[in-house]
Amino acid sequence: RFSQNFREVTGRLLVSEASTYLLVFSMEQRLPPNSELMQAELRLFQEPIPEVELHRLSASSAPARVTIEWLQVREDGSNSTSLVDSRLVSIHESGWKTFDVTEAVNFWQQLSRPRQPLLLQVSVQREHLGPLASGAHRLVRFSSQEQGGAAHGEPQLELHTLDLRDYGAQGNCDPEVPMGEATRCCRRELYIDLQGMKWAENWVLEPPGFLAYECVGTCQQLPEPLSFKWPFLGPRQCVASEMTALPMIVSVREGGRLRTRVVSLPNMRVQTCSCTSDGALIPRRMKP
């Protein structure tokens, strides 16, 4: 609004109504050490609509939108939310509803210790706006802990993890042990000799060569029930999961004169090898 180059456009608040729940999960020691989080599912029990209300609703009532956000309370007291899942639920149907909150748990894992509990904000909003939209979304209610026990549908967080002692990589390869078909995924030394390459002659000044490393070996595959549960995941493969850049000093001609220059080539050296499935979620880096 302070720029002279743009005309100010005023917005009008159409609707601001949502029933919001805040779920708090104590997470410390819930995730086993040396394990990989495959999926975190939030299960909420949608309560049936009271009979009286049911008669008032038309059979084609619009669905309600349920949105799950991860709530981060910062040290200075301010907070921020990150959207992790959102889906439509039918107002007429009751029962367990499942949401994918893997990203929220990934964010929580990036917090510095001691970590706050996992905070999930659940909001129920109407899907359609306008004069014909109904307020039926207000009838969507989820069971809470106060109503007593899992049998009555209190919110649940299901964590699916893989033990990396079995399913992970093993670090650096043992140079004494020859590679075989059964060699477990590891990082092997691979020296790139720049001095020995014709194209690098007289202009690549540093380094003369470097240890690039490579990921070799095989990974243990998921058992059948799990690959059925996550059909979108490809086979687990041994891949470079962390890389570092390679700085170089080169000589280049600029304006007819030779000059030295520093360049940094991204993703040239393998830092870590991991077993991972094609299609698996890459954890988003949390913003500072």
Binding site: A200, W203, L205
Partner: protein, 55 residues
């Protein structure tokens, strides 16, 4: 990683189409200034600390 991939990355960084051909005698007289060397060493240190995520 192959030498050709290193070359490809290097050419992209320098916006060059092909590797420059430089005479050995010219390079022999070239002195790397201290600030260039310092920048190189700083990047080397940095690359040991900061990792980027691959796949």
């Amino acid at each position: 990683l192959t030498g050709q991939q290193v070359l490809g990355s290097l050419l992209r960084q320098l916006h060059l189409r092909e590797a420059p051909v430089i005479d050995a005698a010219d390079v022999g007289q070239l002195v790397t200034p201290a600030h260039v060397r310092a920048q190189y060493v700083a990047l080397l240190r940095c690359s040991h600390g900061a990792h980027s995520r691959g796949k």
